[in-house]
Amino acid sequence: MSVELLKEKWSNTINSLTIGATKEQGGSRTSIITAGGESTLPYLFSEGEMPHRPVIAMEIFDVEPTDWPPVLKEPFKDVLNNPVEWAKKCVNKYQAQSLCLKLQGAHPDFGNLSADQAAATVKSVLGAVGVPLIILGCGNDEKDAAILPKCCEVAKGENCLFGDATEKNYKTLTAACLADGHNIIAESPIDINIAKQVNILISDMGFDLNKIAINPTIGALGYGMEYAYSIMERARLAALSGDKMLAMPFICFVGQEAWRAKEAKGPQAEHPQWGPEAERGPVWEATTAVSMLVAGADILVMRHPQAVAIVRGTIEKLMEK
């Protein structure tokens, strides 16, 4: 006699978020991506659907990154100081479906580039590749308030995903994204309540809930990943149970976190028992990414091409029904 498995029935569905706009849609992208839309916990296909497979966006910088370890710089060493070439390499050589452009150079400590310079970079990257774009500020609230509205403006019609909006700085970015029709990333510090609060604050300004992605903030493998995992799981459970203010796709900045870990970047010369960092680093990033997928991540922002390839393969397998 076969045992019938108990199945959960959820009352709500995660919003579907589309990034990019084709010519017909008023943009110039050759492809677009859609994330979210789940009506089940991750990969439990017997309980509901996952209409869109998780997306990997490769991260590029507008200026040469200063804190990337040699292993991570290696695949991009010829393009690190040229965001346009870097973008092309990601798309052409590594088949990136999407790119995440971080405007690090605007930060007062990393070049203090002007709003016009940042906007020009956005424009040229958009011109160089056809994939949809995620665009991040430099992390300095004051500077981001100055550069991001300008970047939103030059990217008008392209339906980008802009970030990050926090409970402190959300107003300027929300207003800009609203004006130019972009999506927004709502960031919170590994806290389900604050995640919800930022979403409410943004929607209080008249912003469409379907155009918000949650950045729950994560930790890398070995650096509090479990904590992030349980916050994502709780948020997803609440969303599927009917909480519309948490029913947004997750975007996880895996590369940024994983490559901060000493276990990912520490050279073998210093840690002989850890093995070669050329293998260890990408695997650290990939492991973190896969864990986030299982927690419910919809968009992964990653760095190393090898890690991207591993995770792409894992997604294929996870999505097999």
Binding site: E167, K168, N193, K196, Q197, I200
Partner: protein, 647 residues
């Protein structure tokens, strides 16, 4: 040549002088001189409330971020951070004066601050929480007039036995105690008074004591005092113990405020040098001043005040009795005594009949004291079949949930923001405090102050109104941050970020604009979040929700002026039918009076204290989660506040 001592003259506005040694700080010099200066932090230099102006002379001051550039040019310094190096003249500006004495009677009549300062008439004619006859009359101290049969050769029982025999004819008291002091006096007293005496009986810890014996019939003169010792306010009520009549009520600020505004900073202060002594004397001074004012007003002899019943939080009770409170704040948070035996009031320094008694309402735990036991008794929580919640909104917010079958309590450290402390223009609820605020959609702002006086600052109920108005008019967002980028005359950039001007200085009784800052809003948000989260956790622990509560009592400093709708709008109170809420004002004082008047009530208070379960929130993992979700206007879970709409 350097003199060893200098003269400080404080102008507040009258001049008070004191001689001090070189290097003495101005705050402690002011305390020694009897000049009361505000101080929330107890002299750590962080609260910025003890600003004074140096008019003449040389002081050395530690630099402080609490003094603005403009103030510094005018000679402002923090009293606690300034030491004396010559004779000095110090002006104590109005904002820094701690007006301890001036709220007494006139304000009470004017302001009718039910809650903190209930007048006798309010309590008698107002809504009584206790129906008259719940507790049989049986006060802590009773008087009996006795005409003793004179001894004869056939009746040779001793004087003391004779007295016992006469008492037992009237009352069934198997065990009577008498002190040697009384026995020594009996022989002569009986004979000189022609065997007609009045005996004062006191209930002491399960037995009855002959407290004193007086010649003649003084049985009509038997008075008692009910006290509520709050962290911020001390209130006292004079009661005729024979007739239960409330004769008068008076209140004053707790003088301990000079040494720190919350219980924790006072416990810390108590451990330093003569700190405990100073704190003890401060509150005893308060109590004696209240009692003296009461007896003077009613032309009663102090010797006819025979009993004092006191309700206060655990720390206040320790300090009253000069018991070291140190262990209250150390894990595992155990107090020295929650059930304090009846002692002589004089032992604590309270001036009434020198042999008169002092009793304390029993407490539940370290952070839930006799004031809550008294409050529960006053509200009849332990006698109702309805699910009831009592919230005492204070610096240490206490919450009790239950009914006749069970009681559970918890304490939430809400901070002093709603009592007007730790907020820029905050003040306690006295004349001149803004207590109602209305903001029109165009930004026009109207305020109403207590006593219709010129505004001086904002009190708790004013802050609740203000937050609700700013939020509903869209001036602040749900997170409490100003949502307009565009500034104008009222919404402007201040020293600590954006602020909203309620009253410009030309219309105020102070030399600065009365504002609410983004930092104030943050503080208030934390206070309301703590209270809501604690209530919510308490309910969750019992598998209940707010909707299960049938009646809701709110006690504390808001009094009649708490606008329930606005308190719900900001998420301080849950969104329930408004008719479920009632204000009980100073429930602690009412309970304390009932216990003074009835030994039955006292037994019941003891039963309440024993029966009440205490839930320690600091070990509740879910508390932090609840707290963060309550740090939003009205709450992160908007579905909990369906009636709250913006704009």
């Amino acid at each position: 040549m350097d003199k060893a001592t200098y003269t400080i003259t404080f102008f507040h506005p009258q001049a008070t002088q004191i001689e001090v040694n070189k290097g003495r700080d101005l705050l402690s010099a002011a305390v020694a001189a009897g000049v009361h200066i505000n101080s929330s932090c107890g002299g750590d230099g962080v609260c910025g409330r003890c600003k004074v102006i140096i008019k003449k002379g040389d002081v050395q001051s530690e630099p402080s971020g609490r003094i603005s550039m403009l103030e510094r040019q005018k000679g402002y310094v923090l009293a606690c951070q300034s030491t004396v190096h010559s004779d000095v003249d110090v002006e104590v500006p109005a904002a820094s004066r701690l007006e301890l004495d001036k709220i007494s009677e006139q304000d009470l009549k004017l302001l009718r601050l039910k809650g903190i300062y209930s007048e006798a008439s309010d309590i008698d004619k107002g809504k009584r929480i206790i129906a008259k006859d719940i507790f049989a009359h049986g006060p802590l101290a009773t008087k009996l007039y006795l005409e003793l049969p004179a001894p004869s050769l056939t009746d040779t029982v001793s004087d003391l036995e004779r007295l016992y025999r006469a008492i037992r004819k009237i009352k069934d008291i198997p065990i009577i105690q008498t002190g040697l002091t009384n026995i020594k006096r009996l022989g002569r007293l009986f004979r000189e008074s022609n065997w007609k005496v009045t005996v004062l009986l006191g209930k002491r810890n399960g037995t009855v004591e002959i407290v004193s014996v007086e010649p003649g019939d003084t049985s009509q003169r038997n008075f008692g005092i009910g006290l509520d010792i709050g962290t911020t306010t001390v209130s006292g009520q004079l009661v005729n113990l024979n007739t239960k009549e409330v004769l008068a009520t008076k209140a004053t600020y707790n003088k301990q405020a000079t040494f720190g505004s919350d219980v924790i900073s006072r416990i810390v202060y108590a451990a330093e040098g003569e700190g405990l002594e100073k704190l003890h004397h401060a509150v005893i001074d308060n109590i004696n001043a209240i009692i003296e004012a009461l007896v003077q007003e009613l032309k009663i002899n102090l010797n006819d005040v025979n009993a004092v019943m006191c309700a206060g939080n655990t720390t206040m009770a320790h300090l009253l009795l000069r018991v070291d409170p140190t262990f209250i704040r150390k894990e595992p948070y155990v107090s020295t005594a929650n059930f304090v035996p009846v002692i002589r009031a004089a032992e604590a320094g309270i001036k009434i009949n020198p042999r008169g008694l002092l009793s304390c309402v029993p407490g539940v735990s370290t952070y839930v004291g006799g004031d809550i036991t008294a409050g529960v008794l006053a509200c009849g929580l332990n006698r109702t079949d309805k699910m009831t919640m009592l919230i005492d909104v204070g610096t240490n917010g206490e919450i009790v949930l239950g009914n006749q079958d069970w009681l559970v309590s918890c304490a939430a450290s809400a901070g002093p923001a709603f009592e007007g402390s730790g907020v820029k223009c905050g003040m306690r609820a006295t004349a001149g405090a803004i207590q109602r605020v209305a903001i029109s959609p165009g930004g026009e702002t109207k305020v109403v102050t207590i006593g219709q006086a010129k505004p001086k600052g904002i009190c708790g109920s004013g802050y609740i109104d203000c937050l609700a108005e700013l939020f509903q008019k869209g001036i602040i967002d749900r997170n409490g941050k100003f949502s307009r980028e565009k500034l104008d005359a009222r919404i402007r950039m201040g020293e600590e970020g954006q602020e909203f001007v309620l009253v410009f200085k030309q219309d105020a009784d102070c030399d600065y604009d009365i504002v609410i800052t983004e930092a104030d809003i943050e503080n208030l948000k934390r206070s309301k979040g703590a209270i809501y989260a604690a209530s919510s956790i308490l309910l969750k622990k019992l598998n209940l929700g707010f909707s299960d509560i049938e009646q809701f009592y709110i006690a504390g400093g808001f009094g009649t002026y708490l606008d329930i709708d606005k308190a719900v709008t900001i998420g301080l109170l849950p969104d329930l039918q408004r008719k479920k809420f009632s204000f009980v004002g100073n429930s602690s004082l009412i309970g304390s009076r009932e216990i003074l008047l009835s030994s039955e009530a006292k037994k019941e208070a003891e039963a309440i204290a024993k029966k009440m379960t205490y839930l320690e929130l600091s070990v509740e993992h879910a508390y932090m989660d609840e707290y963060v979700s309550a740090l939003f206007f009205p709450h992160t879970d908007l579905s909990k506040f369906p009636s709250v709409k913006t704009k």
